[in-house]
Symmetry: C2
Amino acid sequence: MNDVIRLGLAGFGTVGSGVAKVIAENGELIRRRTGKRLHIKTVLVRNLTKARAFDPGQETSFTSDPSRLWADPEIDIVVELMGGTTTAYDIIEASLNAGKHVVTANKALLAERGRPLFQLAGEKGLGLYYEASVAGGIPIVQTLKESLAANRIEKIVGILNGTANYVLSEMTTSNLEFETALEQAKLLGYAEADPTLDIEGIDAAHKLIMLIRLAYGAHYPFEQLPVTGISGVTSEDIRLVYEFGYRLKLIGQAREVDGKIEAGVFPALVKYTYLLARVGGNYNAVRVEANAAGPLMFSGQGAGGLPTGSAVLADILSLVKCCGKPDNTGFTEIALPDADILDPDLAVAEHYFRFTVADRPGVMAAIAGVMGELNISIAQAVQKGAPSGRGVPIVFLTHAARTCDVHEAVRRIDAQDFIEAPTVHYRIL
Amino acid sequence: MNDVIRLGLAGFGTVGSGVAKVIAENGELIRRRTGKRLHIKTVLVRNLTKARAFDPGQETSFTSDPSRLWADPEIDIVVELMGGTTTAYDIIEASLNAGKHVVTANKALLAERGRPLFQLAGEKGLGLYYEASVAGGIPIVQTLKESLAANRIEKIVGILNGTANYVLSEMTTSNLEFETALEQAKLLGYAEADPTLDIEGIDAAHKLIMLIRLAYGAHYPFEQLPVTGISGVTSEDIRLVYEFGYRLKLIGQAREVDGKIEAGVFPALVKYTYLLARVGGNYNAVRVEANAAGPLMFSGQGAGGLPTGSAVLADILSLVKCCGKPDNTGFTEIALPDADILDPDLAVAEHYFRFTVADRPGVMAAIAGVMGELNISIAQAVQKGAPSGRGVPIVFLTHAARTCDVHEAVRRIDAQDFIEAPTVHYRIL
């Protein structure tokens, strides 16, 4: 590539204007570091007359014609920042077919429809980079692709969604109910008007699919990933969990168990002494357990125009340096194999249970009896005074148990007449 | 390079055998990730008859002749893991002159005598990589060189020495005296028989010099860096600091202040709510404040054969991928400029003071008077009951003050007749 790297941007929202701002502010430094000048030549937008949050300057032209990105021989790299899984797919596919490297921040697209795109990029020897798509400004993609390339990854545990982390953190530190914390997140711009993707764990699941690809070089179909969000979390559980020395976090986890991959997104109890438990606010964090490097933790801003823009620019500069030999997945195979997935029912973990029961004799024994029948061993049991008059909470923390046994225990126990509200249960990390 | 990458190792201690172990254990995975087989062809050792902690196998030959590393045309990369700043220098210089890429874990060498080696490597277009030399398994070198290449680095704060962190953490959590905690560190293998380099901050200072080079592209002479170790830290200060909501950590910090670099290694009070304060045991951590990516934190094992070996292998695999265009410093200049250093006397920070005074009227007023004369503004002041009968402790936490004023205040106050022991003072992060 030349001394000037010409970029074509698809989309000019928060991230697109973030990229332009970082180039404007740090362009001289980027030049000193890399010898290259970055120039946003063309920006694709839907509405040409809309006012822009940031003016990239006279050298940048706006267009509503996508083909001006990939048909322009001067453009070195197409940067897809528009989101969505249809038009964005077509633009990336067309750009790769036209011989352009692609950088994207689009986790939904790469998680749900990434496989053919990675294959196309691999066949063409082109870059398809996506540092910005996982955990924003945290360089976890580069770390897994390069820095940990000599490691078997035993486990990845992430706080992968800043909105959910903000809501749970506020529920914990400010004693808020879920709805209040969510409203506060919306007011601060940490949650969208429709927060479903963030709150229900979908966004974290997209990122986890990418992390699995990077850690294990395997394709884990998005629709097979077990995902539980945080919309059911109550302030009562947040308080109880806290009393036991834990914090409740929305976790995305993948690990190797007997050669198979066990993965999922779920709210989980994290011991307060773990650094992960301390990652509050709208921050993201990823803990990696690698068989040589040992346990590593990374935390930072998972969203926002500048952090995400920084990650987009890291990809652009990596592509500039790669001498035409990009490494998209961290593995040499052009088509990655299917992941060998552990049946989620057989996943083993410690659990937290909260039963809401009638205050009468024999209840604790009945619950413990069902647990025993299903080989779920109890580590701690506490019966609390009733907080609401609606029933007495009994909390069990268990030793490691299979997910199918946990579900069966809840099914059997919730069928008892002393149960006054559906049982709540979470994994413990 | 070919499909087999042939390595020449100088040194086969903890790190050297760690590298060999990781290759033995993860070789197939490395092959799947990179398409390359790593082969340790030659190992340079001082004593050929000494028993080895790990047998790298029949394909590896041992030698006591350094020239067999650089004179062997089959060797692609020379890996210097012997330590020291003389023979190691000669080996790296000869290897670069012979056209070999070099990977090293030698922070002392690169901090104290790195400048001509980087210049030589730059002139020859060869790699001189050193991920393992800063914070062991934490990929901070790669992160600063690549992932944050589009960022101005506002500040780097690190817990850069595992031994010192272990000692301070044990003093805090187990209420130990300095000497007891240090003995315990020795028993566990976390401290060497002569722990001076670790305890006096020299090792952290070496790493900070490298971080400054990576963040600012500038040469900060090692001998000019202000360095204070932890050998004077008492359990009394650990306790007092804790009561104020801080943890005492050995910190290496560099930041840009008015276009100049302010840097140093010193024990400092870190607010307990900061993740850095929570990094305990023998772990390392680096916090980077980048103007686009925002604040990032990385933690992990800073030493040990496998974590350091993992970092050495990351460098080797990066060199294999760099297509003969290595990036050693993260800047394009072959000769990096001298750092523009802020006079350490003018560094501004909040401070903790502990005065040991006679229990009589007017003392607090006298101390506060001196502080006032020197424009040191007091944020909190606490007088404690005497713990030992040797004098009453008075603790001041101040607002931001210049280092020269802090020193002058201590000089003036310690000259008073009511002072019963030398005043202790630490920076607050």
